[in-house]
Symmetry: C2
């Protein structure tokens, strides 16, 4: 695939860490929530091997926060998601599909409950803020909605606990998955969650002060030498292996949450009121005809810039692969695909055209094993 | 400025024309409405000179449409904009600022009225679809909202009429500015507006069929040889000279429409109901303290990836430049800046730091002359 450069502008916002990651050798960017998100440093494969063995610092400021606060904030947040948040607790993070009035997916943020009347929706790539503003205005809710200047640094990898406890103290090791708390370092209190867009473990630091964030970036590299710390970013190979879904890649506003395997977060029998509830009940009753599954393809290379069709020998469409990459662990191309119901049995075979040649692949469960 | 490559994926959608513009030598991309938008071909300056003399074909599929139809569609569209659309007519295009409940800008689309109950909002870079969906759900409007598969080809430049009339017939020369109509070519009816994101004149073809669009792309190059047709894209130099504003660059959701000089589209004394009307009345009463103006800087180069501060000799802040580039016509750097009220008199001087050196500039009116 030919390389094209990215034309920077204010509209593709830089982050407080951009100068640092460029000095650290970022080689490609994607754009996410109108912001630069690094996509590779040394190479996808080299970054992948390092992430699975050591610890990386990621500039994921592009995971923007939609802050919703005020009297009706709980009502508004609940209205947007099919996950029942009625028993949610301050200090916890909730992965929650957002749904529109047609029962279709709008986003899959992590919802952080900061107080009974204050929430941060840590969003995937779409302007959830305007969805919230539209709903609030239409329902005449008493809420304040804005995008705070919060720029996340993620610390990911098996040595993340060692590095973070060296900086923030042993207490941080006890922080449970999808919980957050405040930890102090050199006079600044950092909001830190045990979370992150990898399956290698680690933390996300929600930094609300640019200087404190830049200082933290530098401390992590100074103190991380003994753990072989390196700059990194969400890694395409690792995230497909771990079946971490990407809004806009694997699913979008034309898919419903059952098709994207969000079943355990779709609380149709709860008492809470949310958009699309009746539509989703009808979909549940009728059943879906396609869903996201894994695929493995017997080849060593694939360039994805739109979905690719998977065919049966009969020429019937098996489904569409939406994300894919070569995995050195599987030693083949792996991907996430929307598969039609007749082909849901794992190990069903298909054909796919890559660069004008036909390759063979098979359907498999997620996460890939 | 160092070059970084763009990491393609399904999430940064390709267009039906991507293969063609890559064959035609696109050199950089930006991302706009989650889609690839070409940013340069030969070079910014070379593209600029050609655009002002001949005719270019632009892949501006990234100007996505939000289609709003149904019984309450007019009510919803009006609710989103401070421009009075009560006398709007089918076949016309309306440039219209979208406003939220706080009186802040959400977008500045061209609103195309396709029928009394069918509208296309041809949007700048933000997910207006979710704003519309939120408002529709909250107000229980009977509307359908979706993003149709429409991929615009723009034909821009002083020879655009010659090329387009060669393909579509002499009738098309009579199409008035910001009007649209349907024109047939080889069996396909194309929706064509006299509009486009340059001041050089031309058309935008709203193509609703991928094959018809690809055919049109090819016809334009086959028939355009005598007019020296070339591939192009919205040109940073030309659009700053012409003061064509860019959402996300020159203004965003923290600015109000008075600050962005949209005064003639803010119809506070009309009878129509729209979001933020009372807030805007208060802003009008109180008056604004900053607004967008032009700037000229005595230098030959500037790289913009965030706003840059403009200082008076007193060290007081004059304002912030948000878009800027070197203009070969002005033989200096020109830009669009948010200027504080004490400095609104054109010719006020300021200092700006570019690459650790101080340069002198002056404030001027828009469009630049």
């Amino acid at each position: 695939m030919k390389n094209f450069s990215i034309a920077k502008s204010r509209r593709l916002r830089s982050t407080p860490y951009t100068d640092r990651i460029e000095a650290h050798g970022v080689s490609s960017y994607t754009v996410y929530n109108h912001m630069l998100l690094p996509a590779s440093f040394k190479s996808l494969e080299s970054d992948y091997h390092h992430l699975k063995k050591y610890v990386q610092v990621w500039d994921v400021a592009a995971e923007r926060q939609v802050e919703i606060s005020g009297k009706d904030s709980s009502k508004l947040v609940q209205l947007m998601t099919c996950r029942d948040l009625s028993k949610s607790k301050v200090g916890k993070c909730y992965y929650a599909p957002l749904i529109d009035n047609d029962g279709l997916l709008v986003n899959d943020p992590i919802i952080n409950k900061l107080a009974e009347d204050k929430w941060w929706l840590s969003i995937a790539d779409a302007d959830v803020i305007f969805f919230a503003k539209g709903l609030a205005a239409g329902n005449k809710f008493e809420v304040e909605i804005n995008e705070p200047n919060v720029n996340i640094l993620a610390v990911q990898g098996p040595l993340a606990d060692d590095l973070m406890s060296k900086l923030f103290g042993e207490e941080i090791r006890k922080l449970k998955f999808f919980n957050f708390d405040y930890f102090e370092l050199k006079g600044h209190k950092y909001f830190i969650a045990r979370s992150g867009w990898s399956k290698q473990g680690g933390f996300e630091v929600y930094v609300d002060n640019d200087i404190a964030g830049q200082n933290l970036y530098d401390y992590l590299f100074e103190e991380g030498k003994e753990f072989n710390v390196k700059p990194g970013c969400p890694n395409l190979i690792e995230r497909i292996e771990g079946a971490l879904l990407s809004y806009g890649n694997d699913f979008d506003n034309r898919d419903n949450p059952f098709e994207a395997n969000f079943d355990k977060f779709i609380h149709l029998d709860s008492d809470v009121d949310f958009l699309g509830k009746e539509k989703l009940k009808k979909i549940r009753e009728k059943g879906i005809t396609r869903k996201l599954m894994g695929v493995k393809i017997e080849h060593n290379k694939i360039d994805m810039y739109c979905e690719k069709t998977l065919f049966a020998d009969s020429k019937e469409v098996v489904g569409y692969v939406r994300s894919a990459t070569f995995s050195p662990t599987f030693n083949k191309v792996i991907g996430i695909a929307m598969i039609n119901k007749p082909y849901w049995n794992a190990k069903n075979q298909f054909n796919i055209e890559i660069n004008e040649k036909i390759y063979v692949g098979s359907v498999c469960d997620l996460p890939l094993v």
